[in-house]
């Protein structure tokens, strides 16, 4: 597994496409779980997490599921949680979910990249 994180609009997906030019991508905003588990990569993974949460699914199991069904997946996801605690409970739950799932993914990923201003840094290389 490869995990690519960073803030919004930092060029994460461009970075990912350059690094993995052959990959077929699923879009977290509207892909199904099946599509995600068959794709080479997924971008906007945080959106997928939000959709799972809103649908009442247990998204915390996704890291295990991905490791089992699609362990080579390239995951591009926004870093959230760098602001003041949101007033809306749904937003608090969302950033908590993205944080915990991302920690799990980072622990399992072979490499973790962090992209800022379009510049990627490998912050974990197991």
């Amino acid at each position: 597994m490869e995990l690519i994180v960073g803030g919004a609009y930092q060029g994460k997906w461009e970075y990912a496409k350059k690094m993995f030019p052959q990959a077929a991508w699923a879009r977290g905003e509207d892909c199904t779980l099946e599509e995600l588990l068959q794709a080479d990569g997924v971008y906007g993974f945080h959106d997928f997490l939000g959709r799972q949460m809103d649908a009442g699914e247990d998204a915390r199991r996704l890291p295990d599921l991905i490791m089992e069904k699609n362990p080579e997946l390239i995951i591009v996801s926004n870093e959230v949680g760098y602001g003041v605690v949101p007033i809306e409970p749904r937003e608090r739950a969302f950033r908590e979910l993205v944080g915990r799932v991302s920690c799990d993914l980072a622990a399992r990923a072979r490499r973790v990249h962090r992209v800022i201003c379009g510049v990627g840094t490998v912050i974990k290389d197991a």
Binding site: Y82, V85, E96, L97, A106
Partner: protein, 170 residues
């Protein structure tokens, strides 16, 4: 000796901070808890943290305001979590330091550092998003930001944790 550990929400700061304290080896471990349990969600968060550090031999001291007044065993290894809560308490709780929050908290950190063999402080990056905050919240960011900068200056080590991965700032 002071270590500052920062990061976003849910980034794995706490687990990293606890591991840091454990890495110092045997010794008296003190956990200074600053989250005031005001609603069900905060009770849940506190319970989650308690669960994380059970079996790690921490003695918990609750400190919602007035950090400069607490005493911990000399030569202990102390973990303070989280600066973002302490600052909010000092600013908004009755009897808190209010406008003198920055000086009061930093005085508390200096005193605590002098009492302990090692002090780790967990704080929070609340400075990078696009929500239109009101004046009061911006003041909170200002106070916490100033404290973070000054603590990091005092510290031997400052680390940002990104999803469990420590990035060394200093």
């Amino acid at each position: 000796m002071l270590t500052v550990i920062t990061g976003g929400s849910g980034s794995g700061k706490s687990a990293y901070a606890e591991d840091t304290i454990l890495s110092y080896g045997e010794g008296e471990r003190i956990y200074i808890a600053t989250m005031f349990p005001f609603d069900e969600e905060s009770h849940r968060r506190i319970a989650r943290h308690r669960d994380m550090r059970k079996d790690k031999g921490f003695q918990t001291i609750e400190c919602y305001t007035g950090l400069h007044k607490i005493e911990v065993p000399a030569g202990s290894y102390a973990l303070l979590e989280c600066m973002s809560n302490l600052v909010a308490n000092e600013m908004y709780q009755e009897g808190g330091a209010g406008q003198r929050t920055v000086e009061t908290v930093l005085e508390g950190i200096r005193r605590l550092e002098a009492q302990t063999a090692r002090l780790c402080v967990v704080t929070n990056e609340t400075f990078s998003d696009c929500q239109p905050y009101d004046e009061e919240t911006r003041r909170y960011q200002e106070y916490l930001g100033k404290i973070n900068c000054q603590m990091a200056q005092m510290a031997q080590t400052a680390v940002e944790v990104v999803y469990g991965i420590p990035l060394r700032l200093k």
